[in-house]
Amino acid sequence: MRASKSLRDILWYIVAICIAMVTVFPFLWMIATSLKPEGEIYSKSLSLISANFSLDNYVKVFKTIPFLRYFMNSLVLAVTGVISNVFLGALAGYSYAKIKFKGRTLTFSLLLSSMMIPGVVTMIPQFLVLKYFPLVGGNDLFGQGGSGFINHYSAIVLPGAVGAFAVFFMKQFFETLPDDLAEAARVDGCSEFRIFWQIYLPLIKPAAMTLGIMTFQAGWNSFMWPMIVLNSKEMMTIQVGLSTFQYQYNTMYGPLMAGTVIATLPTILIFIFAQKYYIQGIAFTGNK
C-alpha cells in the first residue's frame, strides 16, 4: 500500500514537471533566442545557452521602430485605465451597495446587461462616435471637420474609463461591510464623499488592488481596439507595434523575440509580486 502511494506520488511529479516544461520552456527559449547573435539563431536554433549572449537584439528593436514610445503609450493607457476604473468603479459600486437613490435598480440592471453584449457589435459605431465627437480634435459642433478622438489617448481612456465589471466587482465587496458605519458618520455630519473616501474605501483596499491588477493586464494586453483607434506611427501601443514589427520583419527572429520579451515583462513582473491578489480575482470570476 505504502509503496504504491509513493510510486503514485513520483508519477504525479513526473507528469507535473512535463506539463510545466510545456508551459515554461517556450518562454525560456524566447529569452534565449532574444539574447543570441543572428548567426546562432540559424545554426543552433534550439539551444538554450550560448557563449555569445548579447543585448544586440534589444538595441535593434529600439532602433528599428519607436519601441520605447510604444512602451510608454501602453504604460500611460494601462495606468490611466487602472486609476479611473478603480476610482470610478469603487465610487459607483459603493453607491449601489450603500446608498438608496432613484433609478438604482434600473441603471444597475442596464450595466449588467452591457456585459452580455459582445464587443464586436459595438466596435464600428463606437469608432464613429469617437471620430465624430463634437468639438474635439478639430471637430465642429456637428462632429465634422476633424478626426475627433481618433489617434488620441482618449479613444482608449474614455470608452474604457469604468466598465460594468469594475462596478459589479466593487459593489460585491462594499456589500459585505456593515451599514452602521455610514449612518454613524452621517449623524456626525460627514459628507457622502468623505464617508466613501475615508471610511469605506480603506476597508476594501485588497479588492481595489485585485481590480487594479486585472485592469492593468487587460489594458496592457489589449490589441484590436487600440489598433483601430490609435493607428498613427507614434500613437501605437506596444502590442500593435509588436504586431506591425512582426509583419514587416518576420525573419528577424532575434529582435522579434526581444520585443516579445519586453511586451510580456510587465504583466509577468506584476504577477510575481502580487500573486495573492491575482488568485482572489480568479476566485471571484469563478464564483460569479
Binding site: I19, F27, I41, L110, N221
Partner: protein, 285 residues
C-alpha cells in the same frame, strides 16, 4: 435624505453615462447602420435589406463563418477538458502544488500578440521548437502555418497552450468549494474514485462548467488576434474568421454598413450558441 439621493446618483453617473454613450447608443447605431451603405466619406444611404441579402450570397462570409465554427468546435471542448483535467490534477495536497499552479498559469499572462509572435517562431518549419521536438521522435514536422489544412489547427494548439491555465484556475476554485465531507461519506459507502468523480465532483461543478464554457464560446466566436498576427487570414483564406472579415470590411474597405450587418449576424450566432450551451448544461443536471 434628499442629499443622499443626489449624491448616490452622482456617484453612479460615470458608468451609466459611459454605458449610454459607448454601448447603448452604438448598439442602436449598429442596427441602423446595417440597413445602409456607408463609407465614412459620403453620408449613409438607406438600402433596406440589401446587406443581409448580400451576406447570404457572399462566399467569403460563409468561408469565415465555417472557419470560425471550425475553430470553436475544435477549441471549446478541448479547452474545457484540458483545463478541467489540469485542475483535477492540481487539486491535491502534495508539496509544491502552488509552484506548479503558477507555472501552468504562466502563458495566460502573456498577451495574444506576444504569444502569437512567440508561436510564429515555435512553428517555424526548419528552426522552430515544435518541429525540433518532433524530430526527436523521428517525425518530420510540417510547415504548420503555410498549409491550409494545418494553419487553423496550429492556431487551436496555440490558444490551448495560452488559455488553459486561466480556466484551470476557475475550475480549481470550484473544486475547492466542494465540501470534503461528501467524499468522506462516499468512501464510507465504498464508492470508488470514478464514482466519486461522476456523482460528486461533476454535479458540483455544473455551474463552473457552464460559466467556463459560456466564456469560451463567446471568446472563440470572436477570435481575431491570433489569426491576424500568425497567418493574416491565410493561407488561402483558411484562417479568415468572422471578426477578421468584419474588420476587413469595416476598416480596410470602409464598408461600414455591410460590416455592421455581419456583426449583427455574429451577435445572433453568439446568442444562439449561448442558449444551446445553456440547454446542454441544464440537461446534464
Amino acid at each position: 435624505m434628499a442629499k443622499q439621493n443626489t449624491m448616490g446618483m452622482i456617484f453612479a453617473a460615470p458608468p451609466v453615462i459611459l454605458f449610454l454613450v459607448f454601448t447603448l447608443f452604438p448598439m442602436i447605431m449598429a442596427i441602423a447602420l446595417s440597413f445602409t451603405d456607408y463609407d465614412i466619406i459620403n453620408a449613409p444611404k438607406f438600402v433596406g435589406l440589401k446587406n443581409f441579402r448580400k451576406i447570404i450570397q457572399d462566399q467569403f462570409f460563409w468561408i469565415s463563418l465555417k472557419n470560425t465554427l471550425y475553430y470553436t468546435v475544435l477549441y471549446v471542448p478541448s479547452g474545457l477538458l484540458l483545463s478541467l483535467a489540469a485542475a483535477l490534477f492540481l487539486n491535491s495536497e502534495k508539496r509544491m502544488v502552488g509552484l506548479f499552479r503558477t507555472l501552468f498559469y504562466l502563458p495566460v499572462l502573456s498577451s495574444t500578440v506576444a504569444t502569437a509572435t512567440l508561436w510564429f517562431w515555435i512553428l517555424n518549419p526548419q528552426l522552430g521548437l515544435l518541429n525540433g521536438f518532433l524530430k526527436i521522435f523521428g517525425i518530420d514536422g510540417p510547415a504548420w502555418l503555410y498549409d491550409s489544412k494545418l494553419a487553423m489547427i496550429a492556431i487551436v494548439m496555440m490558444s490551448l497552450w495560452a488559455g488553459f491555465g486561466g480556466n484551470m484556475m476557475i475550475f480549481l476554485s470550484g473544486l475547492k468549494g466542494i465540501p470534503q465531507i461528501y467524499y468522506e461519506a462516499a468512501k464510507v459507502e465504498g464508492a470508488n474514485r470514478f464514482q466519486m468523480f461522476r456523482f460528486i465532483t461533476m454535479p458540483s461543478l455544473t455551474k463552473t462548467t457552464f460559466l467556463v464554457s459560456t466564456m469560451l464560446i463567446i471568446g472563440t466566436l470572436q477570435v481575431f488576434d491570433q489569426a491576424f498576427v500568425l497567418t493574416k487570414g491565410g493561407p488561402g483564406n483558411a484562417t479568415i474568421t468572422l471578426v477578421y472579415y468584419i474588420y476587413n470590411n469595416g476598416f480596410k474597405n470602409l464598408k461600414m454598413g455591410y460590416a455592421s450587418s455581419i456583426s449583427l449576424v455574429l451577435f445572433l450566432i453568439i446568442l444562439g450558441m449561448t442558449v444551446i450551451n445553456q440547454r446542454i448544461n441544464k440537461a446534464e443536471i
